[in-house]
Symmetry: C2
Subunit: 787 residues, 2 copies
């Protein structure tokens, strides 16, 4: 017992020393003074990241099963009925996620088509009456108002709703929690904001936001509603943990993709290839179920709208670019233009990534200046967009209608046609207006149109391409919900079609097909996905014969793009400072051991199995750590009485310590508790509650002298590595098993050796942080360090 | 040093004791006396499994990176050029895998279509001349000969080529090596055997074998050719390890599925959902590349054959069941028949699994009796098949040709048509002959045919269904290469079409569509895949509109099937005794710790850092273990002189110990070696060589007294768990990181505690083995054991 007390005292001294050394930072208060996420030089930096358009404090998630006594009791006492309840609720939730995502996607589509439709109707009317200025004022005004609504909502109520949300979801599934990301406010703002921004004719899509919406729905369903009005349904308690939430959000994100593209298999693959970090067969199946539900909802809704019950929402609506009518023919010689498209897509995609990175950096500086700046930025982009959209068609010549054309009406009378009259006389059409004075979805459909080889002049396509390059760069970072898919598809299809015109004499591939391939290549060049994009395009274009050439284009574009820079999502993750753990460790990580990492960290803070309250309070106040190893003065059963041995009992979480303090579960004397005592006091439902703060706890002076038995609350089975483990392999373990804390054990076995050498978290395993803490690695990335 | 020596002596004594206690078994010699794989009662049973149709000794694979000094040196000395060489070869190999798989699939298709085609031509000729007996003799004789070829090859030259091979591949990718599975002989036998068996009209497909063929090609390419004639190309040395081989084989298996169904995305997903245990994004991409190559090869070949250059191989050939022509229409009320199909599929699928399991058990007993028995079994099945195929069509009535039918010729004159005349007069056709006197591929095409509602009478379909149920059960286990896909598709399509006829008045879905859905449901009911089957069916039927109902059917069928028994592949894996590690630990595994497992195992055998040769030889001779922890008498740098401390240095592999003995890398005195000494003696290429046996090593008496420094050969970064870790979590780690050995560390830290408590392998973590070793768990699966 003597030794044990010594240990405890040494520890207490340790902590005090540390408390003095370390400058304590409140991360939240600091946000506005850290414009571009300067990182600390020690390994344990306080984790901040830009979430949406706001700097937030982020936290890791506990995907590991916390096997403490309470969990085991709860788990053992689960009856068969409860297990069935759990399985049933899992499937019910997957169903509801699909259903709600489908319904909301329907709502957004309806709203966008109607708002944008009536707006364009009015504009076209003004133009027919030759009241051009009035037309412009009307269009710019409407766009301005719609953008204003979207931007005000995002800036004032839910900054996390800005942007696509996909990088944050990717980070969440990797184990990084970003606050307010999946709340009810975010969901509502995202829905309304997305409707506003897309109807405003901005160069952005509803795809990314739909993925975020799907995830929000999943998360809200899992926790039983918004934070303040939760349904405390008994069955939902099984889902009050990070693991099940992760599975639900995976379902939600694939439902979102499915709803965006009506592509169920593509949605599942997108989640698998791009978004999710962990994947299991069972999840594949559940995700697939969710997307199946989404498709059924969308189909039912389209069936209903066919009869004209949905205002301006025509029969087109959701299948965005159906080219199933054309019989695709291609031969061996067509491989050259296809390869050219692929290479171009790769180069342009990586260029786009490069410039978008620069623009986003500038935008971050502007956004940091305050809400008004954010708002002004969004509105200027809206006005610029309106000017270009409306003004540019006046620059091109009117083109005569081709009498032999299959299209019955030229110029088109309706809203969605292929030959817009705009400012032209009868019998003529303005090809640029066909692409610009319309919704983005219709623009894509027009540029993908087949059997119309003479419809677009190459100069119009060039103007369109340049315009969308500019818009694509300046629009993405503004404070409205924005997706990346559609801007890239628009850009890609423009250069694809231009290439088609240029190649015209040498190939028999239709120009519409060139546009499709161009879009695919730019997507692969920028987002670096292959299988999921291939399936999405397959399901979008509804033409299986396209499969082989689409595959080829995607593979070439991705390969070329990878030579220059990482994918756009990786760039955004890096820019936002989200601590994403990559699948592949850096090569130099083989040369350092976790022991060396532990050396440059502050010494580990441990608690003893039965700990004094004052010490716990002290530790919690002086550190921001989320897990503390619990070490006992062990009595080895086989070796008789105490011989200075120590025993690693487990790991206790900060949240649980705070819970103990709040519940005042103190003991008068230093003793271990019985199982029934614990069961009386705590349930595993209590343990699932998070987010208590040490500042909220008040402990009297008397209580400070009491004890707490940490044994029943500790996770007795934490994952561990020996100090000689290389960082590379430790990182593989950390990511594969989904950890938050990893204990480092000594490789020596002797009296007086402390049973824990250190503790590693996500931040400690990030390449950037390691290089900051061990600058000598930067100079000599190879050799020397290994032993 | 005293303590240390004591430890070593104690260990030596330990081993001797063990050597006496344990009855040493030579696993190979034992094979014929172990008919149904009786398992030992201790945890460390000698691992035997039925591979193909033969009992073999199996071994685990080393997917973990063996980070010893030599590896690190080699790895650090790799230049940029070498890294590029590696990347380039990886892609080149992926390309070659695709190319060769495509070519071989082409060859098999050509051969089958021509052999079976000419056979059927002759038979039809005899029948036209009313020489029925002659026709039967010809057909039965031809089938007999073809089966004989396939069976003799399989039985005599490559027993592992029998069966589909998919379970063994699944086990390989899970970490279990089965000998002779991917050799050149196996490949050749599989190709010829598959041609023979399929042409013989047996109720089996070429799909499973193609997956195996793809994997064989991948494995052979990776190692530079067959075992005896390897190309020792420098670049290939990077692939001489289990990790890269695993990736290649994953590519190979998806190429195989792709070649079987012309379904590139489906192939990738099949590998992902069913076959592979570990998966990474990078692999997704490479696999996709391989399947893209396969598709291009197949397409080129079909283009070439269109002009009639390929004998009887018509234009149909590879797209098996193209129903893209039909415009699918279905409404909300159709959900009922679709649900019925799904439920039926699930029930029938699990029934099929159940009975196949029984049949395979009986077959195993027959097969164990010797080669002749295997051969006779195959040939009897062949004769039975011929009798049924030829005889049954005589039982049904001839049906008059429908004049209004769209089909131009009835009865069909050609070989592949839909209305076979067989024994009928002019203007009549025999609907059962249409399904039976043809190749399996054509049978499927006929039964899937659309817009032919009156073609098949329900009684013919019933006969067909019952026949194929029987054939499907008795054919699978015989000693020829056989795939499961086609039999299941045939069965499923039969009952689907029957249901279609029964539902006729109430629904508008085409009967052909019912057949497709029936096939899908039975596949899901038996194989329990969803996403990959869905995509395969999508790509097979070439009709995207089928997607939502296919998804629904698959989900229902899988759910229903899962209520009764595991998937057919899991059943076969279990039956063969392959130690497959499931993704989900059993619930009761949370209640026991790895420490308790270590207690029921024989004590762990460790070596010291510098070890006497005689001790190494003794250990190797007396145990069959593949890894030994290396423990040093450690001097802790911070603590001054030796204080009884011990240090866990790492893990050394049996293969490396044997290599040391073979190379006679002995030291006169007990000392540690310098880095240059090691580098002079060994290269990492040497270390990659496996399969040496201790019996091949001769060590003189003098040498026995010398020493070996094991430090440079030990993996210094083995994955470890603390003894208090629950088996469930240890298993997750084991599987997720892909381990072969996992060291158990003590939770106590004190002088005299040995730094390794035990070592766990795959066998120790299998539920069955744990339950045998700890029978008390069986009785009380819950409560009590936890603490």
């Amino acid at each position: 017992m003597e030794d044990f007390n010594k240990l405890v005292e040494a520890e207490a001294a340790n902590i005090q020393r540390q408390g003095e050394d370390e400058e304590e930072q409140d991360p939240e208060s600091n946000t506005l003074h850290q414009p571009l996420l300067k990182r600390n030089l020690t390994l344990s930096s306080s984790p901040l990241a830009i979430v949406g358009a706001k700097v937030s404090h982020i936290e890791s998630l506990d995907y590991e099963i916390n096997e403490n006594d309470l969990f085991k009791q709860d788990w053992r006492s689960r009856s068969k009925t409860e297990v069935l309840q759990y399985i049933f609720s899992k499937w019910l939730l997957a169903f509801l996620v699909g259903l709600l995502t489908g319904l909301i996607a329907t709502l957004i589509n309806l709203a966008v088509e109607n708002i944008a439709g009536y707006k364009l109707f009015a504009v076209v009317n003004y133009i027919e009456q030759k009241r051009y200025l009035m037309g412009f004022i009307y269009m710019a005004g409407a766009n301005f108002l719609l953008t204003l609504v979207a931007a005000v909502l995002c800036v004032c109520f839910a900054p996390t709703a800005a942007g696509p949300g996909i990088p944050e979801i990717k980070a969440y599934l990797n184990g990084v929690d970003t606050p307010n990301m999946f709340g009810a406010t975010t969901l509502i703002v995202k829905i309304i904001g997305s409707i506003g921004a897309v109807s405003a004719g901005l160069d952005l899509g509803k795809e990314g936001p739909l993925v975020h919406i799907g995830s929000c729905i999943a998360s809200l369903l899992g926790q039983g509603g918004p934070d303040n009005y939760r349904i405390r349904w008994r069955w939902l308690r099984y889902f009050n943990n990070d693991r099940d939430r992760r599975d639900l959000i995976t379902c939600g994100s694939s439902s979102g993709v499915c709803a965006a593209f009506r592509s169920p298999v593509g949605g599942v693959l997108f989640a698998l290839e791009e978004v999710a970090t962990w994947w299991r067969s069972a999840l594949l199946w559940r995700t697939f179920f969710s997307t199946a539900v989404v498709v059924v909802v969308l189909r039912a809704f389209m069936e209903y709208c066919k009869s004209g019950n949905c205002g301006l929402f025509g029969k087109g609506g959701l299948i965005m670019f159906d080219v199933s009518g054309v019989s695709v023919r291609y031969h061996a010689e067509d491989i050259i233009p296809v390869a050219v498209i692929g290479v171009l897509g790769g180069v342009l995609g990586s260029l786009y990534n490069h410039f978008l990175h620069k623009v986003l950096k500038v935008y971050n500086i502007i956004n940091e200046k305050g809400k008004l700046h954010k708002l002004l930025l969004s509105l200027s982009v809206s006005i610029f967009t309106s000017i270009c959209m409306y003004g540019l068609p006046f620059l091109v010549k009117c083109r005569p209608c081709d009498a032999s054309s299959l299209e019955s009406s030229c110029p088109t009378t309706g809203r969605a046609g292929n030959f817009k009259q705009f400012n032209c006389p009868k019998g003529y059409y303005n090809d640029l207006a066909t692409l610009l004075i319309t919704t983005n979805d219709n623009a894509v459909r027009n540029i993908f149109s087949i059997n119309t080889p003479t419809e677009f002049h190459i100069s119009s396509l060039a103007i369109f391409f340049v315009l969308y390059c500019i818009l694509g760069l300046i629009t993405f970072g503004i404070a409205v919900p924005s997706g990346l898919f559609l801007p890239i598809i628009l850009m890609g299809s423009a250069y694809g079609r231009m290439l088609g015109i240029a190649m015209g004499p040498y190939t028999k591939i239709d120009q519409g097909l060139y546009a499709v391939l161009g879009a695919a290549s730019l997507m692969a060049g920028s987002m670096r996905m292959t299988v999921s994009l291939c399936v999405i395009f397959l399901e979008l274009t509804n033409n299986l014969l396209l499969l082989p050439i689409t595959m080829l284009v995607l593979l070439i574009a991705k390969t070329v793009g990878d030579c220059f820079n990482p994918s756009i999502y990786d760039i955004i993750l890096e820019l936002k400072g989200l601590p994403f753990l990559d699948a592949h460790p850096e090569p130099w990580m083989r040369n350092i051991t976790v022991g060396e990492l532990a050396d440059v960290k502050p010494p580990v803070i441990t608690l003893s199995g039965v700990e004094k309250v004052s010490h716990i309070v002290e530790v919690l106040k002086n550190t921001t750590h989320n897990g503390f190893p619990v070490v006992d003065a062990g009595v080895i059963p086989t070796m008789g009485s105490a011989n200075g041995a120590t025993e690693l009992h487990g790991l206790v979480l900060r949240a649980h310590l705070i819970l103990v303090l709040k519940k005042k579960w103190f003991l008068q004397e230093r003793r271990r508790t019985e199982e029934w005592e614990v069961r009386e006091k705590f349930t595993s439902i209590d343990l699932a509650e998070r987010g208590g703060k040490i500042e909220e706890v008040t402990v009297t002076k008397d209580e400070m002298e009491m004890y707490v038995d940490l044994h029943p609350l500790s996770n007795t089975t934490p994952y561990t590595v020996v100090e000689s483990m290389s960082v590379a392999k430790a990182m593989v373990l950390f990511r594969q098993v989904g950890l938050r804390h990893m204990l480092i054990l000594p490789k020596y076995q002797a009296a007086g050796v402390y049973p824990v050498v250190g503790i590693l978290t996500r931040q400690d395993l990030r390449a950037h942080n390691i290089l900051s803490a061990l600058p000598q690695l930067k100079k000599s990335n190879r050799g020397k360090k290994g032993h």
